[in-house]
Amino acid sequence: MPDTTRSFGARVARFRTVNAWWIQIACYGASMALLVAVWEALGNSFGVLFVPFSTTVVRLWELLHSGPLLPALLVSGKLYLVTLTINIVVGVGLGLALARVSLIAAAFERYIFILYATPTIALVPFISVLFGFEFGPRVLVAVLISIFPILLGTMEGARSIPRQHLDVAAIFGSTERQLWRDVIVPYVTPYAMSGIKQSIALSMAGTLVAEFFLNPDGVAAVLLQGTTIVDSGWVLAVTLFIAIIAVLLVGIGELIERYLVKWRKASVG
């Protein structure tokens, strides 16, 4: 007869198991090798409409070395950084305010979910009519696409502070300011960080969408240029470039998260 308790325990244990770093890296490498192999094979059979990985890498090198990619990166990078900064400042600030001040929540919470449910693309025509096509409206579009994980994550965290933590603070005579410093901020940090990590990737999508739809500029314009001249090597090279940057940025986000919530390391396995 199968021992169901044990197999469930084993499954839980497996869920919590953290493999050695070199095993993880090996798995990552293997999946990447597989992806490249498939890409190469597909590319070799599709020809010019879908060039192989090797050709893409060469095209990327050309675009970086003498092409428009680096100057475009500066333009997009600025939009990206401003977007991400606003996401973090406004997302965390508004998330805390919504969670801790019930009147603010009563006034605004519905709108946030309405905005979250609305595809931002649908708002682009109105935004361009109201604010034009310059940097400001671009930031607005990018932020609307990518702020929600931080906003909702922070809100969720600040609303779930266990009463016991608040009791301890009260019994030991904490002032409101001390409560924020010792309890609210540290408790909410992992929630906010998890939202920030998502937003790091989503802000890239937001940046590109804003550049696409509001008078093309930056990396999105370079991408569009490749599409217009039906140069699949060009388009794939830019896409690969975006992917590499995304992986790097999310990696940095993970490092920061690990540093900030090191007290939770073991408990989240």
Binding site: D167, I171, G173, D182, P186, Y187, W263
Partner: protein, 261 residues
């Protein structure tokens, strides 16, 4: 009964409602300045609620609570509390958890350092200062919870089932350590527990509550000698008291039948 001149805590006619539910209705209680009062009562009868009111975490709807003559309307600095589930901050090291109360009060750095070191020594956690709570066993976490309360040198210590979430062996160890700590620096204490043995072992008096609303059903003086050690547990006096409290808890009022659940 303790003379009221010596009383540290005086609860008079305490009333508290949660919506339509009367939790406390006219409850009276005093605790002397170095007295340990154990409080037992059926689950849900309002023990935690009473303790929270004394700690200033909940407000009464009627009646008063005074500590050293001062009316309790918010948490007072002379009162500390030990929580059933420890209540350590998982993001703070053990040292920082214990130093928490002193830091809130802006004590000088060297004073904090020496008092925290002393408290850590007292509860036997030396060497674990830099550990985070998740790296400690339940018993060690509650030792830390105890140290965090004791380091404040409270005049009144509130304990809400402090050892109930700890394994039986460690619990016994902690009971006697708690008695030893109290012997070194006697202070007033309200000790809520579900364990009758523990109530008799720790207390100078055992107050038996019944709900609802919570009222005092019986008070038993515990005249066991202090300092108390393991030999107390097998003394006839201890066993007699334990039986009395058991009957106070489980006998139906007016009846002679014991109700065993």
């Amino acid at each position: 009964m303790t003379e009221s001149a010596q009383a540290r805590l005086v609860v008079e006619n305490a009333c508290l409602r949660y919506g339509a539910l009367d939790v406390l209705a006219g409850l009276n209680l005093t605790v002397g300045s170095t007295e340990i009062v154990s409080i037992v009562g059926p689950s849900g009868c309002g023990k935690t609620t009473l303790l929270r009111c004394v700690g200033g975490l909940n407000q009464l709807n009627g009646g008063t609570i005074h500590i050293d003559g001062q009316r309790v309307e918010k948490p007072l600095p002379s009162v500390s509390m030990v929580f059933q589930h420890f209540g350590l901050f998982p993001w703070k090291s053990l040292w920082s958890n214990i130093a928490y109360g002193l830091k809130l009060r802006h004590r000088p750095k060297d004073e904090i350092a020496s008092r925290v070191a002393e408290a850590i020594e007292l509860v036997g956690l030396k060497g674990f200062e830099q550990s985070y709570p998740h790296q400690l066993s339940g018993g060690m976490q509650q030792r830390a919870g105890l140290a965090r309360a004791l380091v404040m040198e409270p005049k009144l210590l509130l304990m809400d089932e402090p050892f109930s979430a700890i394994d039986a062996q460690t619990r016994e160890q902690l009971q006697f350590e708690m008695l030893r700590i109290w012997d070194r620096r006697p202070t007033a204490m309200m000790f809520v527990t579900h364990a009758i043995d523990e109530a008799v072992l720790m207390g100078d008096r055992v107050v038996v509550l019944a709900g609802r609303p919570a009222h005092v059903r019986a008070v038993r003086e515990v005249n066991l000698p202090r300092p108390r050690d393991r030999s107390v547990v097998s003394s006839p006096e201890f066993i007699k008291l334990r039986e009395q409290v058991w009957h106070d808890l489980f006998d139906q009022p007016g009846g002679t039948q014991a109700r065993v659940q």
